[in-house]
């Protein structure tokens, strides 16, 4: 509305600080990791005072939560990546699981933040939406998988829990360096080598 004719627009005080702060936080996570993600460093990167974020996020926890929500959105993209154009279920399963782990390996600090209830607010609506959308990808993949002979009416949900738990645990243990490694330090088994143990009904 108040757009002037000049391209060099500097809207109000900053523009949309809200978005810029989340971007800055994501950048910092990549370069300095979680310890570097302080209120002051995020604000400094954007060029505002360290109390500016309060107007938009309330507290550091609120900002953390917003960054984590964006993380879950990118997490879902990673999982969906490689799914397009493939209808073969085992292939889709491997692609999704691999995307889950690939994201954790590529963005370890962000992944850590996303699953830290102490840093984020699990009751935040936006975070829950993003988180559930991410898990929904795996949920879709798990449909039709066989686990525990598929007995019982809720066998499908049980299989989902099994698949989620495994992939998440694998990613977590990998990041904390507790999975068995070969002499060169590489992992003995990729998630892709273990996933085939799951079988589909058809």
């Amino acid at each position: 509305m108040t757009d002037t004719l000049q391209d060099q627009k500097k809207p109000y005080h900053h523009g949309d600080l809200k978005h810029a702060l989340v971007e800055a936080g994501l950048d910092i996570l990549e370069t300095e990791g979680l310890p570097g993600l302080t209120l002051r460093s995020i604000a400094a990167r954007v060029g505002v005072s360290h109390t500016a974020p309060k107007n938009h996020f309330g507290s550091l926890r609120g900002l953390h939560t917003a960054i984590a929500a964006e993380g879950f959105r990118r997490h879902a993209v990673f999982m969906r990546d490689g799914l397009d154009g493939t209808s073969d279920r085992p292939t889709r399963l491997r692609a999704a699981a691999n995307g889950y782990v690939r994201f954790a390996r590529k963005h370890p600090a962000l992944f850590e933040l996303m699953f830290s209830p102490l840093l984020c607010d699990p009751s935040d609506a936006a975070l829950q939406t993003a988180s559930q959308a991410s898990f929904a990808v795996l949920e879709d993949i798990a449909d039709g998988l066989i686990w525990d002979k598929g007995r019982g009416a809720d066998a499908g949900t049980k299989t989902q829990v099994m698949l989620w738990s495994f992939v998440h645990g694998y990613a977590k243990l990998m990041l904390s360096g507790q999975l068995p490694c070969g002499p060169d330090g590489s992992l003995l088994f990729s998630v892709n080598q273990i996933i085939p143990g799951f079988a589909y009904a058809d």
Copy 2:
């Protein structure tokens, strides 16, 4: 050696501060959780200055690491609990897996600390020993389990990774409240209900 006849012994300055600090830390984790586990609060609980721990642990990180190591020892106890006197393998599997999850539920803050490379020092020898001893319980249980038709020479290790990942992921997702719950808030599936999907060869 320098034991006097009186029972009211106050050895040197404190006694064994090292042990007392770890105990205090474990107590604080139970009552106040991870955020309450500060250098100053731990020291205050023991009744020493907040710089006293430095002599024994170097830094807060060192103290965190020692507390986590003790956590892994108790973790192993939880898993071994219920194993004694039972030779039935599926029963032993359920008992160990349930112990893993039961510990996480009963000591969530300690469990969180144990798997936080940012708070602990993963290269610490005592921590590694305790951690490996804990995982060795599951390793033993996993022996003979079938996964992925057992093909390949390292099928056993692959099964261990699968089992570890699943149990750990289940515990983690449970603590962050991301496992599916019923209307009353209780979990839909206990780890014991999922574990039977694993089968033994014999």
